[in-house]
């Protein structure tokens, strides 16, 4: 019961209160990119959640080893990158050899696995001293945060592209940045930071 409640609380916190994509900009390039291809949402989100959960679940026990926890921060980064690369390569080889998936699918898998959002999860778990259950919840929450961000972006981008009242020089990427900034501001409200200090 404790395991499940830890997992759920962390997942909800990571996804909605501390939306990692909009509040901290992790994986924001991928979110913008996928927001322009809404058909890929489901698959891409599942991939991101999967890799975030797996990398978090592997790195948390490694971090808790006394020999590893004493290492400098930079060495931890190297360990996380190696774990992520290993998880991705093993998954890709299994999918390629056993399920014979296309190279296009594997390319998407690479984008989903090797991005700042997935690599940031083990760092966040370590800094927040999350338990194993919370680490898994954090990975799941990252996936949900990604789909929330991408859905909001997709919906906004669609409307912005049809709005003829936007001045010419603001059309395209400038207005997209402004839109992302407003979404980011909305989620920053949960953090309790002050805009004017």
């Amino acid at each position: 019961m404790n395991f499940f409640s830890d997992l759920m609380i962390t997942a909800l916190y990571t996804a909605f209160f501390q939306n990692l994509v909009l509040s901290f900009a992790y994986g924001s390039s991928e979110a913008v990119r996928i927001s322009l291809k809404p058909r890929a949402f489901g698959m891409f989100t599942a991939m991101i959640s999967g890799f975030a959960v797996i990398s978090g679940a592997i790195c948390q026990p490694i971090d808790s080893l006394p020999a590893v926890s004493a290492l400098p921060e930079s060495v931890h980064a190297l360990v996380y990158a190696a774990v992520l690369a290993g998880v991705y390569l093993i998954t890709a080889v299994i999918l390629k050899i056993i399920f014979r998936v296309s190279d296009h699918f594997l390319t998407n898998l690479g984008i989903a696995a090797l991005n700042t959002l997935v690599l940031a999860i083990p760092f966040i778990n370590r800094r927040s001293a999350y338990s194993f259950a919370a680490s898994i919840g954090s990975g799941l929450g990252a996936g949900v945060a990604f789909v929330v961000a991408a859905a909001l972006l997709a919906s906004g981008v669609h409307r912005l592209s049809e709005n003829k009242e936007i001045p010419q020089v603001f059309r395209g990427t400038p207005v997209m940045f402004l839109y992302i900034s407003l979404l980011s501001l909305g989620f920053a409200a949960f953090s309790g930071n002050s805009i004017f200090s």
């Binding site: 390319t107 700042t116 940045f177």
Partner: protein, 350 residues
Amino acid sequence: MAQAKSKKDNILLKGAVIFNPVLIQLAGLCLAAAATSDVVTSLIFFIVFTVDTVVCCFLASLLFKRLPRWLRVALYLIIGAGCVFPFAFLAEKTGISLNARMQMYLPLLAVNSVTSVHCEQFAVKNTVGKALEDAFAVSVGYGAVILTLGIVREILGNGTFAGLDLGLDVRLGGLLMPFGAFVILAYLAMMLKWYINKYRPEFNEQTSVKIRQNEKVRRENSDETRANTSGVGLNRDDSITEMEFLFGNEPEEFEIFTEFWSPGVITAQDIAADMENLSKEHRQFSLETDRRIEELFANMDTGIDFETLDTVTGEPETEEPAPRDFFGGVFEDYENAENPADNNDGEDGE
């Protein structure tokens, strides 16, 4: 010479300014928005990013061209981690003032999308020299953006410049959050767009973000427009569209399109049109070549009877040549040769 210089300038201008990785290609947003809250950190990120991009593009162009794409992306992570690790370790050991948050963002440079996009879209398709030029140009473009962000955010958000207090009364703490970075990025993108519109209008089309719709949606939209203008139809229900977005069942297909980042949606018609053009050119080339050869031979009197010429030896054929196998041997040899296995019979047993 002047043409080569102009070509080089073109790569630099395109990579750094016209197709700026952040402002036009929307790549590397995480680090640009979250990690550039002061000048020193931005400078460190710029240096590490340059090393990472140059090394990745160099290796991609030199060694990775024959590897599958899904394997290359993992190699970029490993190379990136290898490039970033010494800097992170050095910063930790020498006590360079990287705050706790920056210490976390520095390793994330290993998976930055700018490097992998340029390795995939440019380096693996070009020579080492061009890949290095592009890597340098992209680093300059990315560096210019993150340094500008670092300067503006530190001055207006913290009231300092490189740690020195400027004594400003009002400090906009919000600029130190990613929200502030996106606002500044919006204005930088707007200025770049203005520059392209005014001074380089030939790139206007290529640098604008387009949302492409497939043929079915275009038809639906035009039907909808017709219905709306005639006053008998209603707009599509937006809430349904959002649900469709979430569950991925909608028929719409959008794709961002810039020159380097993505090839956009390539339809079967596009491929068929390309193939048609290619085959036309090929047919024309073949016909022209045949015509020239015929013309050449018509004007020559070599005394050779081409009808009976052996195309292998160049000698006139005297009899039907024996069929040859893949390695150039004659099939008859195999038929007449003794089976080597027969000669070994009994030897193994002795």
